[in-house]
């Protein structure tokens, strides 16, 4: 048995381990949890059988498994009494506006944002800045934002999964988007001199 299954699963660790780990890490923001998710994924893969063949199919199959594992993890976390970020008043999303509801000049600064994503794709510095900005989101907010924007889950499903109301979810997504946009403006676009120092 060992000769048949063992080497294959060891090969998985080398071929897909790092990829799956990063895939999980950008979603759960916790290296221990991400490691466990990778392990659970391989264990589940041992039990299952893959329908298609070929190296890319194997990768797709593993990604499919880890996606489920991540959702399970979020579901478990939703049962724990976690602070509801939508009511937290830490960085107020309204700091960007004047009393009359107009943008503050500094908040609206959009120098350096390109028209298309193409120019950014190959720039490691951009992705580093993005990872750093994602990391600054409050944990619950980061979770819903990831499900919505990376996994393209619809809002009803997220609400059901994490026991949120549509209103709360809407507020959390709104704050996440604004905070990310502000963070990227500061760290990457336009004000690069400052970003280097911070």
């Amino acid at each position: 048995m060992d000769e048949v299954v063992g080497p294959d699963s060891h090969r998985w660790i080398d071929e897909h381990g790092d990829y799956l780990y990063r895939f999980a890490l950008v979603r759960v923001y916790d290296s221990n949890v991400a490691e466990d998710l990778v392990q659970d994924t391989f264990l589940a893969a041992l039990q299952g059988t893959r329908r298609e063949s070929g190296p890319t199919a194997e990768r797709r199959w593993m990604v499919g498994i880890i996606k489920h594992k991540i959702v399970d993890h979020f579901r478990r976390m939703a049962k724990e009494p976690l602070r509801d970020d939508s009511r937290s008043d830490v960085p107020s999303a309204d700091d960007d506006f004047l009393v009359d509801g107009h943008w503050k000049p500094a908040a609206a600064d959009s120098r350096g944002w390109p028209d298309k994503p193409d120019t950014l794709l190959e720039q490691k510095q951009f992705w580093d800045a993005l990872a750093c900005c994602l990391d600054k989101l409050p944990p619950r907010t980061a979770q819903v934002f990831t499900l919505r924007e990376m996994d393209e889950m619809d809002t009803e499903e997220i609400c059901r999964l994490l026991h949120l109301t549509q209103t709360n979810l809407g507020v959390m997504l709104y704050r996440a988007r604004k905070q990310l946009r502000n963070c990227l403006s500061t760290r990457y676009f336009g004000r690069t001199e400052e970003a280097v120092q911070s």
Binding site: H10, I13, R22, R59, R177
Partner: protein, 93 residues
Amino acid sequence: MSWVARLLPTCQEMSKLLSDALDRRLPWHIRTRMFVHLRMCMLCKQYQHQLALLRRLLRLTNDSHSAGVQVLQAGLSDEAKERIRRALDSSHS
């Protein structure tokens, strides 16, 4: 002009509506007021563009060929790999 402005959402309200519009279809009367605001307001127009760009970029992180997946240079540590290897071995022994 000012009476028109009073009928329209403020920029602050627009920033929330532009986010909402990414998640669900808004009622037509709101969309109409947003449309008019966007025609007059360069800053909200820019904000809308930035949100759309952000969404496209984040979705690209799913593409294994893009640099986005390398966002985190980190990989599994050797200890973690060893631990997983042992867990896999013990599961089918």
